[in-house]
Each structure stands twice: as C-alpha cells, then as structure tokens.
C-alpha cells in the first residue's frame, strides 16, 4: 500500500450521521438536513446558532475568545474567535445555500465562570452581538451570562435547546 503525497488537503470535520453533529471548542459546523448540531461545556465560551429557515440551513459556532484580529496565534482555526468564527460561519452557510439577509441568530454561553479570568465570557457575548449587528443579523433569543455552564442542541426546526449545569432547560 502506498501513500503518495498529494496537494489535496483534507479538512477535519465531524461526520454527520445518526442525526447528530458534535461541534468542539473552537469549531463550527453547518447542517443542511435533519441533523442536530450539539456543543457541550460552554463556560465562558459562546455558542452562536444561525439559521436560514427558508433554505433549511443551520450553523453552530463554539468560540473561545472575542477577537481574532491581531491575535498572536494566527487564524488557522477561525472558530477559535467570535469575530472570525461568525464571519466564516456566515460564509459556509452561504456556500450551503443560505442567504445572509434571511439569517437569524441565537446566542448562548459567555458565563462569568471565574474571577481569575477577567470576564472573558461577557466580552465574548458583546463581541458576538457586535459582529452579528454589523452583519445585519438579528439576535432573536439569548441565554447568556451568569455563572453557569451550558450545553446546547440546535434542532432541525431552528430552535436552540439550552441546558444549564443544574439541569434546567430552555428552548430558544
């Protein structure tokens, strides 16, 4: 068996099957069928869920830090940052048939988990609101802030189910 070098670069993305796509930290994913997009353990990180209902296209981002612009580590993982993550997610949604003008957003996470880490959670949320506003995408629902971790499921119907660490669940 031979493995010749090739210029084709594979991108690593979660396999969409069994109706569930896991989105990791610093990651983003798009669904065009009935899959549920999930991401877990949102502490100070923020989840941005975008849907174009008429095109049936959804996307979920799990970003860790507010600003990619001018960062030390470069942008090889755009999903690491709220700003580059939202920009990339919108582009991928459009590639999948969505129209930016029809997108609506739900935002979750951005908790103030620790005093040690100077309010990165609220800054993530503020940056998300700012970037979505600049892109003309309305934020229709949010479950953000406080000091509580969250896990989210972005359903095929475009609703975002947010489960808090204490088991309390809300559907946005």
């Amino acid at each position: 068996m031979s493995h010749p070098p090739s210029s084709r670069e594979r991108t690593h993305s979660p396999a969409p099957d069994a109706g569930r796509i896991k989105v990791g930290v610093s990651d983003l994913s798009v669904a065009t069928g009935g899959e549920t997009l999930t991401t877990s353990g949102l502490g100070s990180c923020v989840a941005v869920a975008l849907v174009d209902r008429s095109a049936g296209v959804r996307g979920l981002l799990h970003a860790m830090l507010p600003n990619g612009t001018g960062s030390d580590t470069g942008i090889e993982r755009p999903g690491k940052y709220v700003d580059t993550g939202i920009e990339t997610l919108i582009a991928e949604l459009e590639d999948a048939g969505a129209s930016a003008g029809r997108l609506e957003a739900r935002v979750a996470g951005g908790a103030e988990m620790l005093d040690l880490t100077d309010a990165v959670g609220p800054r993530n949320v503020a940056r998300a609101e700012q970037c979505l506003d600049a892109a003309g995408i309305p934020v229709v629902e949010r479950a953000v802030g406080d000091g509580v971790g969250r896990t989210v499921r972005f359903r095929a119907d475009g609703r975002l189910v947010v489960r808090a660490a204490d088991g309390f669940e809300r559907t946005l």
């Binding site: 070098p5 690593h12 610093s26 860790m64 580590t73 040690l116 880490t117």
Partner: protein
C-alpha cells in the same frame, strides 16, 4: 535532542486526522457513531512509556514503513475495550481479529497519508500484522532504547452508547525523530505550515532531556499532592496516572467531560505561569469534603464543603508545584483557590481560553489521584504557559 514545539503540533494534527479516519472506519464497521475527543502526544522516555503500559494488555496491528518514513507504526487498543467494541460488530467477537486488523490498517493508512503529504514523499507500508501484547511489548522495538518514541493517543467516544476508548500510534523511525526535533524541513504542504500556531519570535525548541526531567518533576508533584490529601483527610491515597502530554488546548475541555464537577482552580505566577485545576466528580467532591468535616454537612456541596475543598486544593497545589522552583531555578507561587462547581468542561474552558490567546497547543500535566476507603478520585490539570515553560526548560539544560 531538541523538540521543536511547532513541528510537534503539526505532527499531532496529523495523528488527529489519522484517528479521525480510524473513527470513521469504526463507525462504518459497527454502525455506532464514534468521534475523536482528544489527541495528544506523550513526551516521555522509553522507560516512562514502559511504565505507563505496565499491566495493560493491548490488541492491535503493526506495520513496517519504507520510503519517506522508515521504521514501524503501531495502532493498539486497550484489551479491556476491545470486547465492548467487538460486541458492536455484526459478526460478534468472531470478527475480532479481522476487524481489528482492518480498522488498524485503515487508521494507520490515514495517519501515514497525512505524513506523506507533510513530508512530500511517498510512504510504503507492509501488510498489517495482528498482535496481542502484554505491557510494554506493544511498543515498537526501538521505543525502549535511547530517546524513546512519541506516543500519540486519541480518545474516541461513542456518541450514542456508553463506550469510550483510546487508540495509540507509535511511529518509530529516525526520520520521524528528525521531524519533531525540527531537523527536517517539511515540504510545503498546504495547511501544514503554522499548524502549531507558534509564530512568535521566542524559541519554541525545547531540550528533550529537560522535558523528560519536567515529566518526572510533574510525577513527583502528583505524589506530593496525593500525600497532602492523605494528610488532610487521614485516607490512603495513590496516584493512578500522571502524564505530561502535548495537546491542542481546545481539546482539553472535552477531556474533562460534561459530568458535573466540583473543585478549585488556581493561577500560577512566576515562570512558568499558568493555571492549575483540581476537579472531582460531584459525588467524590462531597465524599472527600465530608471526610474533612467534623460532622455531616447540611448540603453535600454547600458552604462548609466549599471551604473544605478550598483548603484541600490549597495544600494540594502547594505540594504539586513544590520542587518546581528549585529544579527550574525560578520562583513560582499560586493564587488563593477559586471554588468551581459546574459542568466539568465549562469549569476549565475559561482557563484554556486565557492561555489560548498566545498558543493553540500546550503541554498539559494531568494526574488522577484516588483515595482508598471512600473511593474518590480527582483529576489535576496543570496548564503552563508554553513559552515560559520552554524558557525554564532551556535553563534547566544549561550546565
């Protein structure tokens, strides 16, 4: 030998892709959705690896390599998990040997495909050889001598059933070592450049021997932390695992998992600075706190338990970093404890976010400490700043 941190990051990414291919192959074979939770490189001598594998039975495949990479690569499953995995197969355990061989072949093929791209040279692999091995016999022949090997470990998780297990890849070849020490300039493979994300002007090459010393230091730190639990609670303790690994930081929260955890986090100040988290699953946290209190608390994890866990965290952290300052020749202190009680991954993600401003990959020390009698377990995660650790390790290697 000096390990180039950036090259190691790129290697880890390739291992992650290989593991992704293995997960895909297993998903196809079993009909159960599997995903890769975390991939890390253990940085340890052959002796450390032998110790890590002691008492474990492994099942897997090995292949010989020729061309761009020469030597041997091994993919191994823990024997404990193989039965659970095989039970998912349509043919049941009779399929075992051929299924393991097939999965191993696909996974190693995917792994080496990435390497070939990175090196810009073809790699030939011999047909897979199935093996069942006790302890360190799983390691390639060259692993236990001299500089040892890098062990890439990926944890796979079944999303719909309660199954998670690790696969190991052990590329053993001179060219591979040349690559991680930065001796070989990789071919201009798209996406390979800068994958480790350490573009700063600071040196990112660390002396291998210093890393090995630091791994031993971390191990002693874990033992000290365990001793301090014993001192505070009067319970016998033992260190189950203590590892120094190189991982993508974004994968660390997934490793902690989504179960509710309670514990304490600390900021480390000095060189290296960073963070340390001591996390117990809820039940363990309540039990260990109760063991320190004169009477049963009203709430299992209320204010009294919180105070007890903070006090425990304080002495554990002091024990953990005790010795670092002497060996590394720096002064390291820690902040007061901050109590956390939440989804495990959510408690650690702010720490990871803070470090991620400057690095995408990091050296992570993780240790599991168990207490006898009341059966509790806690995980300690130390996340040092990579550049500062590199500088400290550099000094360590100076005569």
């Amino acid at each position: 030998m000096r390990v180039d941190v950036r090259a190691l990051g790129a290697c880890n990414r390739l291992a992650e892709r290989g593991a992704g291919q293995a997960a895909g192959a297993l998903t196809d074979l079993t009909g159960t959705d599997l995903s890769v939770e975390v991939t890390g490189a253990s940085v340890a001598s052959g002796e450390d690896l032998a110790e890590a594998f002691a008492g474990r039975e492994s099942i897997g495949v090995s292949v010989g390599l020729r061309g761009g990479l020469e030597g041997e690569a091994v993919l191994a499953f823990d024997a404990d998990n193989v039965d659970a995995l095989l039970s998912l197969l349509p043919g049941g355990s009779s399929m075992g040997r051929s299924a393991v061989t097939e999965v191993g072949n696909i996974a190693l093929g995917g792994f080496l495909d990435g390497w070939a791209n990175y090196l810009g040279k073809a790699i030939d692999m011999t047909p897979p050889r199935y093996f069942e091995a006790d302890g360190a016999a799983v390691l390639p022949d060259g692993a236990l001598a001299g500089d040892g090997v890098f062990l890439f470990e990926s944890r796979l998780d079944a999303t719909t059933t309660d199954l998670d297990f690790s696969i190991y890849m052990l590329p053993d070849s001179g060219q591979f070592r040349d690559l991680v020490v930065g001796k070989t300039a990789p071919a201009a493979a798209p996406g390979a450049d800068g994958e480790a994300g350490n573009d700063g002007a600071d040196s990112t090459a660390v002396p291998y021997e210093s890393l090995s010393t630091f791994a031993s230091l971390a191990k002693r730190g874990s033992a000290n932390a365990a001793d301090n639990i014993a001192m505070m609670t009067g319970l016998d303790t033992s260190v189950d695992v203590s590892r120094l690994r190189f991982v993508p930081l974004a994968d660390v929260p997934a490793e902690v998992g989504v179960e509710p955890h309670a514990g304490t986090v600390f900021e480390l100040q000095g060189e290296p600075s960073g963070y340390l988290a001591i996390l117990f699953e809820e039940e363990s946290a309540a039990k260990i706190a109760a063991s320190m209190l004169p009477s049963e608390p009203d709430e299992p994890l209320g204010g009294m338990a919180e105070n007890a866990l903070c006090e425990l965290g304080n002495v554990m952290t002091s024990g953990f970093i005790d010795g670092w300052a002497n060996v590394l020749g720096t002064s390291i202190t820690h902040s007061p404890p901050e109590f956390v009680h939440d989804i495990g991954s959510a408690t650690i993600s702010p720490l990871v976010a803070k470090l991620s401003r400057r690095q995408d990959y990091g050296f992570v020390i993780d240790a599991a400490i168990q207490t006898e009698g009341i059966q509790t377990r806690c995980d300690v995660y130390a996340l040092p700043d990579e550049r500062e650790l590199a500088r400290a390790l550099e000094r360590l290697s100076e005569p």
